[in-house]
Symmetry: C2
Subunit: 391 residues, 2 copies
């Protein structure tokens, strides 16, 4: 069965995790703020922070005198000597990046593929890139684990890729294979769900407990759902897979009615351009295509809004371009087809995070594991004069 009753160890773990969580989400915080925020005693906070420092998870620094009365409180911030490796395999290549506990990408590598890669190919290439990246990292950094964002249906509990149409995979035990190849703990999850998490914590969905996230890419539309402050996967991982829902009455899937290719075809037929270029060209052209697509998108959104009543809808990728170019039309269409109260409560905004979105998201589950038990990172023995050991 599930975990259960808590003993004293659990208290320590929970409190360490709570501090790590606050520092991760809100950036640098003074010890006095942590005291207020957690309700714990000053001395307790001091002891907990000391342990996190000893494990290389946070660092303390002197505050810049802020003009407040009283003794200054040391500022606690995420350490950059503990990193997470984020991996994003796609049909045309795989990206590996080093992400800090604070949620920023410090280094990245990419290896392209000519054809759709097999699972084995992705595992070996990823392992190579991981080794390469680790060699480039400064001495003394430790890797907390590997987080993978994959465009597929995933059983997150054990990192099994159930179905990846784009990659042609079925039932690939990706987490297990990568863990074996690299010797590091690995988490695997759906890319859109992870994108939703990233936008929720660090982007356009900050602080929003009920949101729908939709991302439009070259290969289709993916989405993620956050309800009651928690990511929702549904029984089989299909919750929030809005690309396959029906946007029109005729029963055409949304991701076949609203496509990036249609936008590209209208302004630069056949060209291979990125979203920035696409938006620039659309700005110069007439808006009729985005208008048509905005209407279909709006109808589909209305259906979702009626059912889950979110307070915000975040649109990324080329859907973000549509949202930026047709805000009134989109809002009007939603208002027309959604019920009045939920429709009024749902604010439609464009995603804020760009290229790093999936990498930041991919690191999140690893950080979750860290927050659940910070003691999994060994204490650094500063007893001798040697540097802290890696791995």
């Amino acid at each position: 069965m599930k975990p259960t009753g808590s003993n004293l160890d659990a208290v320590r773990r929970h409190n360490l995790g709570r501090i790590l969580d606050l520092v991760h989400r809100q950036g640098a915080l003074s010890r006095s703020v942590l005291t207020r925020e957690t309700g714990l005693n000053r001395s307790t906070i001091a002891a907990l922070v000391a342990e996190l420092v000893a494990r290389g998870l946070v660092v303390e620094s002197n505050p810049d005198t802020e003009g407040v009365v009283g003794r200054p409180s040391p500022v606690v911030s995420a350490s950059d000597t503990t990193l997470i490796l984020a991996v994003n395999p796609e049909f045309d290549g795989v990206t590996v990046a080093a992400v800090t506990l604070g949620g920023s990408v410090v280094d990245r590598l990419r290896r392209g593929f000519r054809s759709g890669p097999s699972v084995a190919r992705v595992v070996t290439e990823t392992t190579n890139l991981v080794a390469e990246l680790r060699a480039r990292l400064p001495e003394g950094v430790q890797i907390a684990g590997i987080g993978v964002a994959v465009p597929a249906l995933v059983r997150a509990s054990d990192g099994m890729v159930r179905l990846a149409p784009r990659l042609g995979w079925v039932d690939a035990p990706l987490a297990e294979l990568l863990a074996e190849a690299t010797g590091l703990p690995v988490t695997v999850d759906n890319d859109a769900s992870l994108g939703a998490r990233a936008e929720r914590y660090f982007g356009a969905g900050r602080g929003i407990d009920d949101l729908i996230y939709l991302n439009g890419g070259a290969s289709g539309i993916g989405g993620g759902l956050v309800l009651g402050g928690r990511p929702i996967r549904g029984a089989g991982g299909y919750a929030g897979e809005f690309g396959h829902t029906f946007g029109t009455e005729g029963g055409i899937a949304l991701e076949r009615a609203v496509t990036r290719d249609a936008l590209v075809a209208a302004v630069a037929p056949g060209a291979d351009i990125d979203d920035v270029e696409l938006e620039r060209l659309l700005g110069e052209a007439s808006a009729s295509i985005t208008a048509t697509q905005a209407e279909v998108l709006g109808r589909a959104l209305a259906g979702m809004i009626n059912i889950v009543n979110p307070s915000r809808v975040v649109l990324g990728g080329f859907l973000g371009i549509i949202a930026a170019r047709e805000p009134e039309l989109l809002a009007a269409t939603v208002a027309k087809f959604a019920l009045v109260p939920p429709g009024e409560q749902a604010e439609i905004v464009r995603a804020e995070l760009g290229a790093d979105l999936l990498l930041i998201g991919a690191a999140e589950p690893v950080i979750d594991r860290l927050i659940a038990d910070p003691a999994q990172i060994p204490l650094r023995q500063d007893l001798g004069d040697e540097a802290a050991p890696e791995k």
Copy 2:
């Protein structure tokens, strides 16, 4: 901000609550089972159970020798000396019932109304019924609180009824008024959400983490959503309010296309019959009406299933009758309009709980409060020779 870090008191509260939770949900459990289930030490369980007994929340009894080796372990079950009062105001009357921690109704009273009642009327009638019911209860029982299930949009955090079309209320601070009038703690929530919880814990949704619940009553269709094991309300409490969603392409709300009145009109026009009678009459008549309604219902369900990917759909009230009479048609319609994978994962079943559904559900939030802090119930002083004091 939210609660936070945990200290030793929190551990004790959590563990007491965990035991109470297990006993509440799974019925009678032996102390050895509790030990295994919680992972706590035998001696710890003994101490915790002793405290719950002292607070009148559980009782210990001798097990019937089960044919197992080893010393018999005392059975812990919910006490019936601590009760929750469940209240269900409707447009034509208000029901007050006494519910045990085990989730069964032991007594009930109802007062009818001629016309739609004002908030004040409901409060005074409820207060009277509460007093009457308490007078009938045996000596020594204590009331943990009042839980209200109301057909309205509710802000559960403070029990404010935001909008109750059927009752004609707007922004009625029902929890506050009832708490003042009765001197007991009061929780208020939407009736359909509470019904969903009741079915999930004690009915057709037992153990299901992702489910949709829909209930059809004389005044319309209400629903509740449980995702990831938690009730989902959405930003404004509209999540799961499926009655207002569109079941057909023409934009007619589901609860106007699928109605109880249509069924009644087909078999006994104008008659005032209950669901049991209605189902019997339908059994004798032709099935064409239920078939039409099953199709519309199926289309609406398909839309919901595509978005939230539940593993079960529970249908109550007259929708349960439709589900029982047209299982194949309903399943076929869902299969036709839902995507294949989520459609296959969603099992459509009839609700199991009958008339007590809302009352059991209404008690749940009160029990939640009890589980969150069992120490809110005072210790019974058995030091003297007097009985335990009430209130």
